[in-house]
Point group: C2
Chain length 149, copies 2
DNA sequence: ATTTAAAATATGTTAAAACAATTATCGTTT
DNA sequence: AAACGATAATTGTTTTAACATATTTTAAAT
């Protein structure tokens, strides 16, 4: 569906402007789809985001600052999100003895397990994207990267 | 900057998966930039969204349902957002006497004025996007549209 | 004409995000 | 070493979003 139809707006200031709106809209569209998958697991999009970053680091840890930077969120939110994940047993939070200001966050086995389960479902959903060619996906990635400079 | 560097993740499951992450990340990046512009005006992204929709309709009105449908965030509460804008004097809300269930929302002159001011700044920011060719923007729009089916 | 169902919006409540201020630790300067 | 500023994270508060429920009005059915 074209963005014009999705938000029922026929004219845009420019193709650039339309592009910005389109990215925002598509992102929300994806997040909503993800939320549906995540809901039964009792995990929010942002929590999921953190878990994935941590898995990318596994078995190494990540500091709060690292998490905050990669998820483009406020530090205070990252802190509380991690705490919620800790209570659920998905992450481990320990003080870094090398620098006691810092905190080391690791994903637990339980965290990896739930990610695994979610992945199966998400991968299935992402199969729909195979209407795209890999080349097209590549182009899109390239354009987005360029957009952010 | 490539998404790999932005979130410091070297490998992705697939180019498709990377694309999804990239859209989410870029969207947050844009929203953050917009928020910086809007903040001095005391207006949130969502409120800004509503004002622009109303300007698109001007001098006609829009119903709550119309706003809800056209907003980028379909889940948001248009009713309360409009109320906030009304208190600030940017919109007018009147009951539709033809159908008293409905409400007619109009943008005020004050609303148009503030949009004008914001536009100048935003337009300046969006100039950066001219590193894109119109063709590229067109391709990106096309791909995003295709992604959502 | 009354009842029922649907439509449009508003409100109440809980969870999350944004904002501001605070605490704890470290590195540096004097 | 004491004082200072910078860094990393947390905590308190306010605002906004998400979700469910309620209210008001209209349209349809009996």
């Amino acid at each position: 569906m074209k963005i014009e139809d999705a938000i029922q707006q026929t004219k845009f200031k420019s193709e650039y402007h339309k592009m910005v709106i389109n990215i925002l809209y598509t992102s929300k569209w994806i997040e909503e789809q993800n939320a549906v998958v995540l809901k039964p697991f009792g995990i929010s999009n942002q929590q999921f985001n953190i878990l994935r970053i941590l898995r990318g680091q596994h078995p190494k840890c990540a500091s709060m600052t690292t998490l905050q930077e990669r998820m483009l969120d406020k530090m205070s939110n990252a802190s509380r999100l991690v705490e919620k994940l800790r209570v659920k047993g998905y992450v481990l939070r320990t003080i870094d003895e090398k620098n006691r200001r810092q905190v080391k966050v690791n994903i637990t086995d339980k965290g990896l397990e739930i990610l695994q389960k979610i992945d199966v479902i998400m991968a299935n959903k992402e199969k729909e994207f195979e209407k795209f060619s890999v080349d097209e996906a590549f182009v899109l990635n390239d354009l987005l990267d360029k957009l952010r400079n």
